[in-house]
Amino acid sequence: MKRILISPVALSVLALAPAFAQRRATIQNVPEIPFTTVPNFLKLPPGEYLGEAVAVATNSKGHTFVFHRSNNNRLFEFDQTGKFIKEIGSGFLGFEFAHSVRVDKDDNIWTVDEGSNMVTKFSPEGKVLMVLGRRPLAVLGVLPVAPQPPNRVAQKYEFCRPTDVGWDPQGNIFISDGYCNNRVVKYDKDGRFVAQAGSEKAGSALGEFNLPHGLQVDLQGNVWVADRTNNRYQVLDNNLKPIREITNVGVGWTVCVSGGPHQYVFFSNSNPNGNQPGTWDITGEIYKAELDGKVLGRFGRPGKNPPGFQVVHMIDCRNPNEIIVGEIESWRVQKLILKSPAGNIGAQ
């Protein structure tokens, strides 16, 4: 019984301490990319607030979608000037604890919710088009303490705190799943199971995961996975066979692949929740790289006020020179205008 009474705060600190040093990115001599933040990028209607801005994405028109942990979890749409357009999914069953929002090539809006275990595809107008996963029935109750491994064997059509979603050019669906599975799942465009990499078990070999926390698919159909607790990123081919890992850009918090034709990838070595002493000195930056892994530059650092970051949880990089970041602890979305690395300031 005593063990149950240990506070979650204390547990998280115990868990963090040994992994702490690994959070520092080992890559060196990376050019600093100058940038500016757009003040008050998103204009909320009077009386409305963002909660933890864990998920942000844009569509082809430049509209911004924010799926955030407010008192209730909500999905907001803003136009290209940052003006509020509408709320989508108010009162929807699948919104309990937001984790990701992404927009596919047809401007459908996909939400990933780790409190309901549901991945939902909304039409551009906000109608539900497809649902993956099911919310556990309330009649089953909750456990008195957070569940511990071993995790239940991963199921084809059931998630355990899923984290992110992406698509290849053919429309196949890839989902990172998650906090209590440790896998990437591929479905066809109709939502039928195709394959998985990893399993319910955490692992550190190539093709295994320990908290796959973010996912994107490039135009070649390769799958980029932020493998958070392994402090790395993995690249998988379209059939989920591992190609390589990237271990020198810090913790694998989230990943973004920009629009084409020349795609870039962004990695976030996000500062950890809780702002433990020393973390602001060795974490918080975002890296910009070529798809072949060549790192081009870095930008950003932790801070409570803009342009500082407070746990970047998701990046939108449709336009690789106008990055939008959603942060956890500041309840904030920032739009960042990137300039060329030092020496070429002003060039776009």
Binding site: S7, V13, R161, C180
Partner: protein, 344 residues
């Protein structure tokens, strides 16, 4: 006094001398009145426990109140808790203006509200463990701490020795104050037993205190105020004293005999006054309840009020606003109200 005000006058008698067990019964009684209907809520809105009341430079009144219990929803193996506190703004006449932070993520169990010299409104919440700075327009300007993603049953326990961690992970914070440079002092307070200092940009500077009875130790920290010199006054509730520290947390002195100091406020100006409440427990109106008026060196100038349910009586005062030295606002937990007091 403005004779158009609706004044409730009660003559204080010797009958309340027995009221306080801890405090200085010999302190002179200060005559005062309570202005009826200090804040006027629109029909259909209610105050809950008033954990905090504060005014801005225009005289607008901000009330942070526990209006209900959180809704708990069952998510993926975890219960999520939502809401239950609200913040209302009134103008200087007490007319309702608007709600701030409606349905915002960090409003769960209100602990305190304070307004800084730039009219930013700071909400302290002891369940979300957050200190939330709102700009004068009501937008979120800065956040300290983070709400737990989910709530576990049984609940979290008090934080060990109370010293906390050198960061903005709070355990039931209770109050916030600032020095002239904008440094932020958080009384972290009901679960921990420490004071945490941050610079004006929210970067952690240091914290001090742990659970105990010695100098620099706290039973809990229920209230905090900073004087013009940057000295920090902390209401050490369970030890029934006020501890005074310099700006870096070095212990200077302590005042006893004023009860639990559940709420305190220091006035501005050349001769600042320290108001301290010896708040009664919510389930006892036969002891304590009075508010002390004193100098910053601990010299008592007088006291007023007692525990009770009527106007001019107090039910577990948790907040005092003293922007005006002789017109105070007090927030009461047990009586679910704000009183505007005029001291004579």
């Amino acid at each position: 006094m403005n004779t158009t005000l609706n004044i409730v006058t009660v003559t204080l008698t010797g009958g309340l001398l027995a009221a306080s067990l801890f405090a200085q019964n010999s302190a002179p009684e200060i005559k005062f009145d309570s202005v009826a209907n200090a804040v006027q809520l629109p029909s259909g809105l209610y105050l809950g426990e008033v954990a905090g009341v504060a005014t801005n430079s225009k005289g607008d009144i901000f009330v942070y109140t526990r209006t209900g219990h959180p809704t708990v929803t069952i998510g993926t193996m975890r219960p999520f808790a939502h809401g239950s506190s609200r913040m209302f703004q009134f103008d200087r006449t007490g007319k309702y203006v608007r709600e701030i932070g409606k349905d915002t993520y960090g409003f769960m169990t209100a602990a305190q509200v304070r307004v800084d010299p730039s009219d930013n409104v700071w909400a302290v919440d002891e369940m979300s463990n957050m200190v939330m700075k709102f700009d004068p327009e009501g937008g979120v300007a800065m956040l300290l701490g983070r709400k737990a993603e989910s709530e576990f049953i049984p609940p979290r326990t008090p934080g060990g020795d109370g010293a906390g961690q050198p960061t903005d992970l709070f355990n039931r914070p209770t109050d916030v104050a600032w020095d002239a440079a904008g440094n932020i002092f958080v009384a972290d307070g009901a679960g921990n037993a420490r004071i945490a200092k941050f610079d004006k940009d929210g970067k952690f500077v240091k914290s001090w205190g742990k659970r105990g009875t010695g100098p620099g130790e706290f039973a809990n920290v229920l209230s905090i105020a900073v004087d013009a010199q940057g000295n920090v006054y902390a209401g050490d509730g369970g030890n029934k004293r006020i501890q005074v520290f310099d700006n870096n947390g070095v212990f200077k002195t302590a005042f006893s005999n004023f009860g639990n100091a559940q709420a305190m406020c220091i006035t501005k100006g050349a001769n600042p006054i320290l108001y301290v409440s010896n708040s009664n427990p919510w389930n006892d109106i036969d002891s304590a309840g009075e508010i002390y008026r004193m100098r910053l060196d601990g010299t008592v100038l007088g006291k007023f009020g007692r525990a009770g349910r009527l106007l001019k009586e107090f039910g577990a005062v948790n907040s005092i606003d003293c922007r005006s030295e002789n017109t105070l606002f007090v927030g009461e937990l047990a009586n679910l109200r704000v009183q505007k007091l005029v001291l004579h």
